[in-house]
Symmetry: C2
Subunit: 375 residues, 2 copies
């Protein structure tokens, strides 16, 4: 018996997931990682005030969360100087990307992104039957001009860009993003994923005009705020867009304790500057380790560094595998030529010690493996 029939779209979709989680890899490896540097989590964790607020709220977890998420939305509204009605909270940016795809994408809808950009966006678009149109990176940057040209050519209602970018860590100044928003084709909306914005230099985020229908901004508590496991992201968009999300979303999907932690994080003005400093130090150390091994690190406005392994994707893949074998979890870009790099998250000094120890061994093993394959 193989009933019931799934929808034609679901029948057709491949079995795929955007990322294999480090826990899955640890089970395959048979032992825990010593350095968790692959998922761009914030190893420095949440603000102590957020931790204290969440611990205090735990006994109240028998209650569903407020379906309007009013307290957090009002705190975010105050932070960004926008009405709370222009803010929607979701289960991480991933959950919100799913909603965005759902309200805009039907079978065959063209959607524009960069080849090698965030795969979870692609996953959601494909799961609603969208047709992905991908433009190449240029000089390790997502290319706003190419994205705009593809959007116009395809009459795509949805375009994705991350600024700063993941997986390369590169970024554009606010002026470039503002120009991109202004040049968006009519009937099209830019998904501006600013998950890493708190790590970027001042002047990277364009001003927020919440009623500009050309853009939806995505932000998260998973990166700088150190709460990836609590699943709290938000979008800033027109009230019309948020009304569309509200027609289809799971209204009782948010974790009550995560909402408390997010609001407490915002109230701790000292925390983000401390995190920025620690992440900057870690990025510097990753650069030094790369250089000591004859590799180069790309400049980064995020909490990770793309390390150019100096050869092709096969070599970088071999380096990555050898690092993982040594308990150092990292990831890498999916496509050429960005896949000459491995992507290393800003770790604690101890984690970066492990990376420093493993990298020369991994490079040697990768070089030997490729030579032996070529021989």
């Amino acid at each position: 018996m193989s009933r019931p029939h799934f929808t034609p779209l679901v029948e057709r979709l491949p079995a795929t997931i955007p990322f294999v989680s480090p826990e899955q890899q640890q089970r395959a490896l048979g032992r825990p990682f010593s350095a968790r540097l692959g998922a761009n989590e914030n190893v420095f964790g949440p603000s102590p005030r957020a931790l204290a607020a969440m611990a205090q709220a735990l006994p109240e977890c028998w209650m569903y969360a407020d379906a309007e998420h009013r307290e957090l939305r009002e705190a975010l509204a105050a932070k960004h100087g926008v009405p709370f009605e222009n803010i929607i909270v979701g289960e991480g940016v991933d959950g919100l990307l799913g909603l965005l795809a759902r309200v805009l994408v039907s079978e065959g809808t063209p959607v524009v992104t960069s080849n090698g950009a965030y795969p979870t966006f692609n996953y959601h678009v494909a799961s609603f039957g969208g047709r992905l149109v991908k433009v190449p990176y240029r000089d390790d940057h997502e290319d706003p001009d190419a994205l705009l040209a593809a959007a116009a050519r395809e009459a795509a209602p949805l375009v994705y860009i991350a600024n700063p970018d993941n997986p390369m860590g590169t970024w554009w100044p606010a002026s470039k993003m503002q120009a991109m928003i202004a040049a968006m084709p009519s009937d099209s909306v830019l998904c501006l994923d600013e998950a890493y914005i708190e790590f970027a230099p001042e002047g990277t985020a364009p001003e927020i005009d919440p009623e500009d229908p050309r853009v939806v901004r995505m932000r998260t508590f998973s990166k700088a705020y150190g709460m990836a496991g609590m699943r709290v992201g938000y979008a800033i968009a027109t009230k019309r867009m948020i009304a569309a999300f509200n027609k289809v979303k799971n209204h009782f999907g948010m974790n009550r304790i995560g909402l408390v932690g997010a609001a407490a994080s915002l109230a701790d003005a000292d925390w983000i500057p401390q995190i920025r400093a620690r992440v900057e130090a870690a990025r510097g150390r990753i650069g030094e380790i790369a250089e000591k091994n004859g590799l180069s690190a790309l400049p980064s406005a995020t909490n990770f560094v793309a390390v150019d392994c100096g050869r092709d994707g096969d070599f970088a893949k071999a380096v990555l595998s050898a690092l993982i074998e040594r308990g150092v979890f990292v990831r890498m870009p999916f496509v050429e030529p960005e896949n000459r790099c491995i992507r290393v998250s800003a770790g604690t000094p101890e984690m970066l010690d492990a990376f420093e120890t493993a990298l020369p061994q991994a490079l040697a093993e990768a070089a030997a493996a490729l030579e032996s394959a070529e021989a």
Copy 2:
């Protein structure tokens, strides 16, 4: 400017949410409720072992959760005697109902449920364009025979029943449910929502055959396990069904701390019997309060009691409004004749004191209001 264009389905959907949360009602009221008895939350909270495990895990919330949720799934597999591959974890039953609708429902797909049953199921079905076919309750029970007949007549791929039922609290023995599963039309699947099963008498849950394609079982940590705010539910279904869910779900949507708490709850074998005893005592007290006011309480296999207010829906609505005005949050069924009742969750003694104080006043006020309206 009103761009972009949403999908035709989204454009057509009404702005609706399945429930107004008590926090929204409190904001409208301008003060907090003294008794939170409307959302069938478990006021007795989670197991102390779950609370301790979650508190201990909080500092690790910088990490995303395992995308496979393996630890919890293996614990559930052991509890239910099924392979972990037949279990999927989601953001509460609500999240899983959304996935179930998504993989089975296209525009115009007929879906069968009872008129007045769980509105969130209806919400998700409608949001994918499904056509709801509703059969009446019979004697305050969902009616398996009528549901089966409608499913066969409409060739519906999806049928919903909750056992025990919400909002009436009534239930069928396992034998009746087993017969319903056996009688499901081919190409159709029964969504058997067992959110309240831990409160029901032994012999209410039919045996679990995880590879039976005729049924998907929904369970939750939101009710007996007292963790509604952590958002952890699960479904037991065929591997084929779970593979379909995995094609479309948000793989990184679960809260890491919620997963820890759920696993710890399962390990605390003493907790559920204690909760059952406290809930049973609270149900008894609600019955006494009803009787003292000349009302009758329906028998219940859940953590709530439907109190028959003895007149029509307008009267029960007036009673509910007067209770809310007095700080006692309750809800009520949506349709006739079940809407002669109000639905009161098993509360703490203090909450039920508040209910006991407010009920006679609310009844008097409702009677006076209706008389004045009729005059």
